[in-house]
């Protein structure tokens, strides 16, 4: 029973982090209609930025998080016009071209990271790394608890922004129907740029947490691209509540499979479920996606 509860709590805690990634990803998909294959590379870059800043400045990675989120939001803001140019290309399958472009971008980023930093694993050491929380007889690594708490706060803040502020409402309008939103005087380019920058910032920020909990290595992106796709597809593209359910589902599945079946089977089972959901429930488990 102890093992079961432990696995369950671990799953929920990991799932919390994926929710933040998925929420940004699915809003970016909703507005720009591109599926970003480079999502895992933003996570990797976020984690590596935290690592190198930590090495050179000795500031705790957890305190660097706001800075990293802002820094990557700026990168996203500056980079978005390039992606927009690809989306607007006069080609018979422009959406596919954008997909292939992000694919190339992810290969480029991964290759650069591998060339610069090699294949080694690195650890992000924070002030919470050695600490544990005891909760009703279950031992939790403190960093996981903090990461989940932080993710929940950020996701809630983002939800508030989307549903209660004027800019958030324009974003949702643009996601629903860009042409009509444009006729209502919403500047689609500005919204796209804003959304992409929020998405990159959120993703890189989650990357710091992932780096703290697991480890940092240039090849990590591929794995988290798979996770992000899982959450977004299982939740339904562009669905906020779906992303939350699917994030928790992903955490629970990976946690239970690795404890009860074996670590080698985690990806086999995840990809199998992802494939089944895509084929049979293309609107996500809640049926709320686009």
């Amino acid at each position: 029973m102890g093992l079961f509860t432990q696995t369950f709590i671990n799953g929920i805690l990991i799932g919390g982090i994926f929710i933040t990634i998925a929420v940004g990803f699915s809003i970016a998909y909703g507005v720009m209609h591109i599926v970003d294959f480079a999502v895992g590379e933003w996570i990797m870059l976020g984690a590596f930025t935290a690592f190198w800043l930590n090495v050179y400045t000795k500031i705790d990675p957890l305190l660097l998080i706001p800075f990293i989120a802002l820094f990557f939001a700026l990168i996203g803001y500056l980079f978005q016009p390039v992606i927009q140019k690809v989306v607007n290309i006069k080609h018979r399958s422009a959406a596919m071209m954008a997909l292939a472009f992000t694919f190339g971008l992810s290969t480029l980023l991964r290759g650069s990271a591998l060339t610069l930093w090699g294949f080694n694993n690195r650890n992000l050491v924070t002030m919470l790394s050695e600490k544990n929380i005891n909760l009703f007889g279950i031992t939790l690594p403190a960093i996981r608890g903090v990461a989940t708490l932080f993710s929940i706060i950020v996701t809630a803040a983002f939800a508030y922004f989307l549903y209660r502020t004027k800019t958030g409402i324009t974003i949702r309008a643009a996601a629903e129907n860009k042409t009509v939103a444009g006729l209502m005087g919403i500047d689609g380019h500005r919204i796209s740029r804003l959304v992409y920058s929020i998405y990159v910032g959120l993703t890189a920020m989650s990357g710091v947490f992932i780096g703290c909990i697991f480890s940092v290595f240039p090849d990590m992106g591929l794995r988290y691209t798979a996770f992000a796709f899982f959450v977004v597809v299982a939740g339904g593209m562009g669905s906020f509540s779906g992303a939350i359910v699917a994030g928790l589902m992903l955490g629970l599945i990976s946690s239970f499979v690795s404890v009860y079946v074996g670590g080698a089977y985690v990806f086999l089972i995840l990809f199998f479920i992802l494939y089944l959901i895509l084929v049979f429930l293309p609107k996500g488990v809640l049926g709320k996606g686009w």
């Binding site: 959406a95 997909l99 190339g104 991964r110 798979a226 293309p282």
Partner: protein
């Protein structure tokens, strides 16, 4: 529709010369160059097979490497465990990959666009994980085939396969009713269906045929390399390279994939010789995809047309100079 589109004498002579060069190549060049030529033939075949699905039908697959790996593993297992001769193993591998792809294609082809790309990608990764945990495939140990050290033999096998794929693409996709139907699915699937085309059948056929060729080439590759591992034949790099070769050369054309395969493979081998096994290849690969999509979305084949449209090269350069002044 008749096949012969008025062959001009120049075309016939070029075709004949190419054939003569291709068939006498093993007797002219060193074994090092011959191995590179074999690799080029293999990638031409793979790029053309991907182009059937991605180019003519417009279904971008990031999981075509799965067919390659499945073919390689089927051929390898038939040869090591049942001790079948190479060509019989290759034919059985082709048939089994075709059946496998038809079964997989039926549910997968209900998806389209980005969903199809993600679905095939997820399926390919799933196959890699499956082969890694199965014991019959050798798991993470890989699979060792009986060695056969005859470079000429493999050159001719790959040449024959590339020619067959080329002929199928030329006869069935460029110059037949079937090709027109496939292109109709690409342009407007709903309209194609309302006009009475059985789009489900067409899509499934194209998916299975292109997978079958990838599988056969995979089988030949397994025997050529004699050692296969899930990460080498089922890894994402195989599918990536097919996509990039086609995009680089020109998607949906007959000669684009060939040009792309030659440029990318020769570039890859050149880097391998100059710098050794390096992850810098990934940088160049990624960078070239981004550049091609941004500035040459129709591929290298469209370069002459673009230059012609903008006048001559010199005028282009003059314009640039004026702008920079």
């Amino acid at each position: 529709m008749p096949i012969s589109k008025s062959f001009s004498p120049v075309k016939v002579i070029v075709l004949l010369l190419t054939m003569i060069v291709l068939f006498t190549l093993p007797f002219l060049v060193s074994s090092f160059i011959l191995r590179i030529a074999t690799g080029i033939m293999m990638w031409i075949g793979l790029a053309l097979s991907w182009n059937m699905l991605g180019g003519y039908m417009g279904y971008i697959s990031f999981g075509h490497g799965a067919s390659f790996g499945v073919g390689a593993y089927i051929a390898g297992m038939l040869m090591t465990q049942l001790h079948l001769p190479f060509f019989i193993a290759l034919i059985i591998a082709g048939i089994l990959t075709y059946i496998f792809a038809a079964l997989v294609g039926y549910p997968t082809l209900r998806l389209s666009g980005s969903y199809f790309a993600i679905g095939t990608w997820a399926f390919a990764e799933m196959m890699r994980q499956l082969v890694l945990v199965l014991s019959v495939t050798g798991g993470a140990e890989g699979l060792r085939l009986p060695p056969m050290l005859n470079d000429n033999f493999f050159y001719f096998v790959m040449l024959a396969l590339a020619l067959i794929v080329f002929l199928v693409a030329y006869l069935f996709f460029e110059n037949s009713d079937f090709g027109l139907k496939v292109k109709a699915v690409r342009e407007e699937e709903t309209a194609a269906r309302t006009l009475g085309l059985n789009t489900t059948w067409i899509k499934n056929q194209v998916f299975s045929i292109s997978s079958m060729f990838a599988g056969i080439i995979g089988g030949a590759f397994a025997y050529w390399i004699t050692f296969i591992h899930p990460d080498s034949v089922l890894g994402p790099l195989i599918a990536d390279q097919m996509v990039i070769m086609v995009l680089l050369g020109g998607i949906g054309t007959l000669f684009g994939p060939i040009l792309g395969a030659i440029v990318l493979y020769v570039g890859n081998q050149y880097m391998l010789v100059m710098w050794g096994q390096s992850s810098a290849y990934l940088i160049i690969l990624g960078f070239s995809i981004c550049l091609v999509i941004l500035f040459l979305p129709e591929g290298l084949l469209s370069l002459p047309r673009i230059i012609k449209r903008k006048g001559s090269f010199s005028r282009l350069i003059q314009q640039k100079n004026q702008v920079s002044k």
